[in-house]
Each structure stands twice: as structure tokens, then as C-alpha cells.
């Protein structure tokens, strides 16, 4: 974990840039942050990224905001959190404030609508590509991890269960498995 102010500055500007492009919900921020901090800067590992998303989803409120604050914390502790959250919140805030003043013009603009609609498939593609990269630390693990992933995917996608319950089951399952492992080693 680094403490230097230069990390905080880089965090702030990176998040400011990223937050300008997080159209269409919280998950978009995951591929963007992964690309920046795992691929480009290499400040975080693939596993770090998974842990960040896990903790972000276990906290209430907007996933994107929590992902930003976790990323900041991992890289430069509490100061990093402040830098990352400030960077993430400023642009959308300014943007919404302006739009809410001239909303009718924005709503009736066909160009904005076409542009947004055309961006959606690209957003989905980028999320899938990131998810595939994040699959690697799961596949390197025991088989049970892959099964857990399939089960969670089915529960979420088909049954529409709230994410928080599935996370809870995953955490309990993982904790139980680790305790069982410890016991087995102690016995044998």
C-alpha cells in the first residue's frame, strides 16, 4: 500500500476520467477500473479487483461509488478513498445539475438517444471481456469455486434473488470450507 501524494493525485484524475464514461449502471465502472489499475498501471492484481468488487457489493448504496472507494483504499489508504470518491462524484454531479435545469431540451434530443442506445452493446461487450479476465483466479482454484460461480449465476439470473443473499451464502460457504480444511489437516 502506497501513501505518496502522487498516488492520490493519479487516483483522483483517473477516477475523474473514468467517471465521465460510466453510462448505464454501476457495473460499467468495473471494466474501466480494471483496465486502468490492473492492466495499465499494474497497481492492483486480478484478485485485488475481485476483492474490491466483493466488498463493494457487500456495502449498501451505489456499487460504482463503493468500488471507487475500495480501489482508493487499497492503493493509498483513507486518503486514497477520499481522492477516488471525490474524483468519481464530481463530473456526474455537475452533469446532472446542468441537465436538471434544462431537462426538456435533453429529453427531446433524438441525437442523445441514438448515441446512448448505440453505446449499450459496447458497454455489454466491455463488461463481458472484463468478467472473462476475472475468471482466471477462479479457474486456478479448486473445482468447488467454479460450481459456486455457476450456482450463483443461476440464482441471480433466473431466480432474480437479491445479490446480498447470494454474497452471504458465498461467504458462509467459503468460511465453512476453510474451517473444514483446517480440521481435516489437524486430524490427519
Amino acid at each position: 500500500m502506497q501513501q505518496k501524494p502522487s498516488y492520490c493525485r493519479k487516483l483522483f484524475w483517473s477516477m475523474l476520467y473514468i467517471s465521465a464514461f460510466t453510462f448505464g449502471g454501476g457495473f460499467v465502472i468495473i471494466p474501466l477500473i480494471r483496465k486502468k489499475f490492473v492492466d495499465q498501471l499494474q497497481w492492483l492484481s486480478e484478485e485485488d479487483m475481485l476483492d474490491i468488487v466483493a466488498m463493494a457489493q457487500s456495502s449498501p448504496c451505489a456499487v460504482a461509488m463503493n468500488v471507487a472507494s475500495q480501489t482508493g483504499y487499497r492503493i493509498a489508504s483513507v486518503r486514497g478513498t477520499v481522492a477516488a470518491v471525490a474524483g468519481t462524484v464530481i463530473l456526474p454531479f455537475v452533469w446532472i445539475s446542468i441537465i436538471s435545469l434544462c431537462y426538456d431540451a435533453f429529453r427531446t434530443s433524438p441525437i442523445a438517444d441514438v448515441f446512448l442506445r448505440s453505446m449499450q452493446p459496447a458497454v455489454a461487450a466491455v463488461i463481458f471481456a472484463a468478467a472473462l479476465s476475472m475468471l482466471k483466479p477462479i479457474r486456478d482454484r479448486k473445482k468447488a469455486s467454479s460450481w459456486l460461480m455457476f450456482a450463483a449465476g443461476l440464482a441471480l439470473g433466473l431466480c432474480g434473488l437479491n445479490v446480498i443473499w447470494i454474497l452471504l451464502v458465498g461467504a458462509v460457504f467459503g468460511a465453512a470450507a476453510s474451517l473444514w480444511e483446517v480440521k481435516r489437516h489437524a486430524a490427519g
Binding site: 454501476g26 456499487v63 452533469w95 448505440s118 466491455v126 474451517l179
Partner: protein
């Protein structure tokens, strides 16, 4: 005390919206429409539409919008801070706990259990966006397939996997190229 009211309402929204954007929207609607009567149900659709078509998390955007409508810039600032405060504080707390206890087998086991679930949520999140993007109205029918979107998806996916192009380039590029083709073809 409209500002204090706003702060308190969005703090509650921020605190209890576990599980993503749509949960927050429901909570905000309960607070803003049902309980306080600040907005009518039909004007409440505006912040949702805006929040979906602008960058940034839906819950935070909706807070900014409602705050701005009710009490101008101070309202927007207060509501936004209230909406992000609980999530950031709690996730920061989890981060601190994790730093301290990550060496414990139990904690490592928990994270081992959480990671596959997280990957699954990202896949399902991508799938939801994909369904709405590739199928007009999200209907599972052959006639509803938007072929231009399918093409955009495939090209962007290949570029994301095979090249070092940034995700921002792909999203903005996909929007501009797809948008121009759509406008030219009159789709």
C-alpha cells in the same frame, strides 16, 4: 428544514439500498414520492430516465436531481453527500477489517467463497445490459434482435479481448460509430 429532511431521506436510501441500482430506485421512490410527496409518481420517472442516460451511479444521480429540483444547488450537494456517505463509510470499514484480519484462515475462506459469486454477478450484470441492448424491448424473439447492436457487441468484444484499446475508447467509439450508422440508415 427542507435541507435536513433531504439529508436524512437520502441517508436512509444510501444505508438500505443493498443490491444495486433498481433497489435504490425503489427506496428513493418510497421516500420522495410516497412518504414526503416531494415529487409525483410521473415526475419521478424523469430522474430515472436522466440517471440512466448520464454517466455515474443511478442512486447518486437521482439524489442530485431531486435535491436540485427541491432546493437548488445546496439541496443537490446535501442529497448527493447523504446518498454516498453510508456506502463509502461501510465499505471503508470493511476494507479496514480486511486489512487487519486478512491473514486469518476464516477470512481467506470467506473471500474464496465471495470471489466466484462476484464474477457471477458481473456476468449476470453484463447479460442484463446485453439483453436490453441486443433485443428491442428486451423480448426473447428472433424479430426483436437488433442486428446493428449484435455487430457492435461482437466487434467491441473482440477488440476488448485482442487489443490494448481502452474500455473508454470502445464505449465511446461504439456509441459514435453505431450512432452514425443508425442515423444514416434511419433506424
Amino acid at each position: 428544514m427542507l435541507l435536513a429532511d433531504l439529508f436524512w431521506s437520502f441517508l436512509k436510501v444510501g444505508l438500505f439500498s443493498f443490491g444495486g441500482g433498481m433497489v435504490s430506485i425503489t427506496l428513493i421512490s418510497q421516500q420522495v414520492v410516497t412518504q414526503k410527496g416531494w415529487l409525483t409518481a410521473s415526475t419521478f420517472n424523469d430522474p430515472i430516465a436522466i440517471a440512466e442516460s448520464t454517466p455515474g451511479p443511478i442512486a447518486v444521480n437521482a439524489a442530485t436531481f431531486v435535491g436540485m429540483q427541491l432546493a437548488g444547488l445546496p439541496g443537490a450537494i446535501i442529497a448527493t453527500i447523504a446518498a454516498i456517505l453510508p456506502g463509502c463509510a461501510i465499505s471503508l470499514g470493511l476494507g479496514l477489517l480486511y486489512q487487519r484480519y486478512r491473514k486469518l484462515t476464516l477470512v481467506q475462506g470467506m473471500m474464496d467463497g465471495l470471489r466466484p459469486v462476484v464474477v457471477a454477478t458481473i456476468f449476470v450484470g453484463g447479460l442484463t445490459i446485453m439483453r436490453n441492448a441486443l433485443l428491442i424491448g428486451g423480448a426473447l424473439e428472433l424479430a426483436a434482435i437488433d442486428w446493428l447492436s449484435v455487430a457492435t457487441f461482437i466487434v467491441c468484444f473482440i477488440l476488448a479481448r485482442k487489443t490494448k484499446l481502452s474500455s473508454v475508447c470502445l464505449i465511446v467509439g461504439g456509441g459514435i460509430v453505431g450512432g452514425i450508422i443508425r442515423l444514416l440508415l434511419g433506424l
